[in-house]
């Protein structure tokens, strides 16, 4: 019982860390630091998944933890950093909305997510059901980050953070998705990032910048 409690508390702490990192990402303007934050988010995710696996005796979750470690802590950040170096991205411009406003909107979203998750959490039987609200909040915050940024590169990081939130939601409510689905999603992510990379090169070649405002000129009248 005591270990159970300890595990639950640990998990809730990790969930809190996830949310904190999300807010940090929302406020961060430097691309390199954003990648670092993404790595941290991945680490927290790996830790929480492994913890759930240990406490709930779900052995397939170990595989998904390993997969997450490999992909989200290792491979994807490496690709992103390489892209950054090649494209010479240092810092993002000012967000479309200024940071304090963004934080306030984020707060509203977190409250919304918790309200939303309450009836669902009551139904869930897993040990970390209370964290569903946090998972949802992470998803919404990541979406907000994609919305509020100008550069394609930052948006991709937001996209990856969004996927982290979804993954966390899946582990916290149903002990993760079937391994087949998870493998599929992992592959999708990897391919997605490769394709984004190609797009980056194309966009920066066309417009000499990754600022997506230039794309407005593509609109057909």
């Amino acid at each position: 019982m005591a270990t159970m409690n300890l595990a639950t508390q640990l998990l809730q702490m990790l969930a809190g860390a996830l949310l904190l990192i999300s807010f940090a990402m929302l406020a961060e303007r430097r691309s390199r630091r954003l990648v670092t934050l993404l790595v941290w988010q991945g680490v927290v995710l790996v830790a929480s998944t492994a913890l759930v696996a240990a406490t709930a005796h779900q052995s397939h979750l170990y595989y998904s933890a390993a997969l997450t470690l490999l992909l989200k802590v290792g491979l994807l950040p490496w690709i992103l950093l390489r892209l950054m170096r090649k494209l010479g991205i240092e810092r993002d411009n000012e967000p479309l909305v200024n940071v304090p406003t963004l934080m306030l909107v984020g707060l509203v979203l977190v409250i919304f997510a918790f309200g939303l998750a309450q009836p669902v959490s009551a139904l869930a039987t897993t040990i970390i059901r209370r964290t569903l609200g946090i998972a949802l909040a992470v998803v919404l915050l990541a979406f907000l980050m994609i919305l509020a940024r100008r550069k394609a590169f930052t948006q991709v990081i937001g996209f990856l953070a969004l996927e982290n939130g979804l993954f966390f939601a899946a582990t916290s409510t149903t002990y993760g998705m079937p391994l087949v689905v998870e493998l599929g999603i992992a592959l999708d992510l990897l391919v997605g990032v490769f394709i984004f990379g190609i797009f980056f090169f194309q966009i920066s070649e066309q417009f000499d910048s990754l600022d997506l405002q230039h794309l407005e000129s593509l609109k057909e009248d």
Binding site: L96, F112, G115, L116, P119, L140, F143, L144, I146, L147, A148, R150, V180, L212, Q213, L215, E216, S217, L218, K219, E220
Partner: protein, 670 residues
């Protein structure tokens, strides 16, 4: 899985389909060597087709029971189910036997440097064949739709072989569009058919009990979806565009085989998956079928392009088949099994016949096009002297499609008319008045089809060459001839031994409507209902015809020989005649154009009496195109335009749309 381990017809069929795919893939090995692709791979494909036909025939033997198997393919929880029964056996027999002839012809037909590389063409061609076989074998909605869409896509690429021409790209797009609209209806149809059990196997659908209203919805969706593929009016617009655009063997495959998969699907859904429905299902199908038949025949009569003419003739034949199916549905709803079986047998035999004579004619037009480079009837003529083989075989096809005894077209049209004439027993006053009208329309259509074929054959092969270049035309090569002979042989054999065809089809009607049509006691006569009503013997008629012709020949030689003299024909006192003065395709079709004037949308340019260089032109187009499709397209465009403000060009705004939608949906869920 169990059925795969032992040698059963179904297992052999699956291996044959895999062999088709392999043959197609081998085409990529040396895709530009025409000798490898055409002389080796296409004949191999034809051999496989013969195997498919043989396995299909095995499924039609008396002691065959339906076989099913699970394929280790598909999604994890959604494996592919396949099943071989009498209905699929019949259509596989059709696919294999007609497909073998077309493949042999194609081996001699495809040349270097005509659009797509030969190897790629070989891949698309064999994927097309394999997907049609899979459509017929599929036993769950998932595999059926996968195979159905593969069929549509592979045939799209085949249609757009010469994709550098804009009008061919346009025809291909129209075809793809209609194929997708039809597939959408089918998807919805299967969604209704499972009846809330969410089981996508056909077995579960057979067992599902649907409310009458939902069953009707499913039927109408199936009729729409399969009708779009079959070329049912008013969903036929793609057909006269896509068939002429494709290379001739592909037109032959689409017209002879692909349209039949739609017929197969309609039969599968309406007679196998759905239980007995109300009589108006049958009446709807019957009405649409008769309309389609008449419409196709009338339009075929006024065409000036030989492949368009054949495409409209396909529409006509599909209409006849649909009419037979409609009549079978009407009879089944009143539990008149024998009449239902008769109408169904007529439809099935007509489907089989159409596969043979229509592919024969399409392939013959292919030979003519290769020999002359012309598609327009106005520039052909007199080819019987330059291309005796093609002319002779095309004559057999033309006579068969015109419904003349003793060839196969007569058999099925006769059976269809018999079915119509037997129906005064229907216990429904309204239907009793309608159905004889159907018989009249079938007769009119048959007569018009004869008219069309006289025009087709007469303008291309008879008379004098209308262009000087035609004098250099050459006959078809050996492989092309072989393919044509195979198909012509099919036409002749079914015509002479119709009772065999009736026996074979009896296996299908037994499984679908519960009874067979006996052809009577005698092995030589076909007496579908009762001997005091009507009987027909192809063999005796054939022998009689041979006797009369032989006797005439002998008598002429005996009494008239030696008194022959050759003179120029009387020139009406006008000695400066050129081949251009012969009756043209437009001229030949003119009476029909006048008679059925309101059916067409005509744009005519008549020369003034004072014109020094008079020109006459007439452009005939489809009323449905202007009355239905263009307004629909305009409406779509207007709606799209009015929504264009959503496309602001700013990425953040687009993302905001999704974000707001997400939040909104989340609130709704709560």
């Amino acid at each position: 899985m169990s059925a795969l381990a032992t040698v059963t017809p179904l297992a052999v069929l699956l291996y044959l389909i895999a062999a088709w795919l392999l043959v197609g893939a081998l085409g990529l090995v040396q895709s530009n060597r025409i000798g490898w692709v055409a002389r080796i791979l296409f004949p191999l494909g034809a051999l496989v087709a013969l195997g498919v036909a043989g396995m299909g025939a095995l499924a039609l033997t008396a002691d065959f029971t339906a076989q099913s198997a699970l394929l280790p393919l598909g999604l994890p929880d959604l494996p592919f189910h396949v099943r071989l029964d009498a209905l699929s056996g019949f259509f596989l027999l059709l696919l294999g036997s007609a497909g073998a002839g077309i493949s042999i012809f194609a081996a001699g037909y495809f040349r270097q440097g005509e659009g797509t590389a030969p190897g790629l063409l070989c891949l698309q061609y064999h994927v097309f064949l394999a997907s049609m076989a899979m459509v017929i074998l599929a036993d769950d909605a998932y595999l059926f739709m996968v195979a159905w869409e593969t069929m549509a896509l592979s045939s799209y690429f085949l249609v757009t072989t010469q994709h550098r021409l804009p009008e061919i790209r346009r025809a291909g797009f129209l075809y793809l569009l209609m194929a997708h609209v039809g597939a959408l209806a089918l998807l919805l149809c299967f969604g209704v058919l499972h009846g809330g059990s969410w089981q996508m196997t056909f077995d579960a659908m057979r067992g599902a009990t649907l409310a009458p209203a939902w069953a009707s919805v499913a039927f109408v969706l199936a009729l729409f979806g399969f009708g779009a593929k079959a070329g049912m009016v008013p969903l036929h617009v793609w057909l006269p565009e896509a068939h002429p655009a494709a290379p001739s063997p592909v037109s032959a495959m689409m017209s002879a085989l692909m349209l039949k998969t739609a017929i197969y699907g309609l039969l599968r859904v309406s007679l196998d998956l759905l239980h007995v429905g109300p009589w108006w299902w049958g009446l709807l199908t019957l009405g649409l079928g008769l309309g389609t038949a008449l419409y196709g025949a009338i339009f075929a009569a006024v065409q000036a392009d030989m492949k368009r003419l054949l495409a409209y003739s396909s529409i006509e034949n599909i209409g006849l088949i649909l009419a037979g199916i409609g009549l079978a549905l009407v009879c089944r709803s009143f539990d008149m099994r024998l009449l239902a079986a008769l109408a169904l047998a007529a439809a099935l035999i007509h489907a089989f016949n159409h596969a043979f004579f229509k592919s024969l004619l399409f392939l013959a037009t292919g030979s003519v096009m290769h020999a002359t480079g012309e598609r327009s009837l106005g520039k052909l003529g007199g080819l019987i002297r330059r291309m005796p083989w093609v002319a002779m075989l095309a004559l057999i096809g033309s006579l068969a499609i015109a419904g003349l005894p003793p060839l196969n077209g007569f058999v099925s049209e006769w059976l269809l008319l018999q079915a119509f004439l037997q129906t005064p027993h229907i216990p429904h006053a309204f239907l009793n008045m309608i159905v004889p009208l159907g018989a009249a329309i079938v007769s009119l259509t048959a007569a018009l089809a004869g008219y069309v074929m006289v025009k087709f054959y007469g303008v291309i092969f008879l008379g004098q060459p209308r262009e000087p270049a035609l004098r250099e035309a050459h006959d078809a090569g050996a492989l092309e001839r072989l393919g044509l002979i195979w198909l012509a042989l099919g036409c002749v054999l079914i015509g002479i031994f119709p009772q065999v065809a009736l026996d074979v089809v009896g296996r299908v009607t037994l499984s679908l409507v519960g009874t067979t049509v006996q052809h009577g006691q005698s092995a030589w006569w076909m007496t579908p209902v009762a001997s005091n009503r009507a009987s027909y013997s192809g063999l005796w008629l054939w022998l009689g015809l041979l006797l009369v012709i032989g006797a005439t020949f002998v008598l002429v030689r005996l009494f008239h020989h030696g008194r022959l003299r050759r003179t120029p024909p009387w020139d009406c006192g006008y000695p400066w005649q050129t081949p251009r003065m012969q009756d043209t395709a437009e001229g030949f079709g003119q009476p029909i154009r006048h008679l059925f004037g309101p059916v067409f949308r005509q744009q005519r340019e008549l020369p003034l009496p004072s014109d020094l260089q008079p020109r006459y032109s007439v452009l005939i187009s489809d009323r449905f195109w202007h009355a239905l499709y263009l307004p629909l397209a305009r409406l779509t465009r207007r709606i799209a335009d009015s929504l264009a403000f959503l496309q602001g060009g700013r990425l953040s705004i687009y993302l905001l749309y999704s974000f707001v939608t997400l939040i909104f949906l989340l609130v709704c869920v709560q």
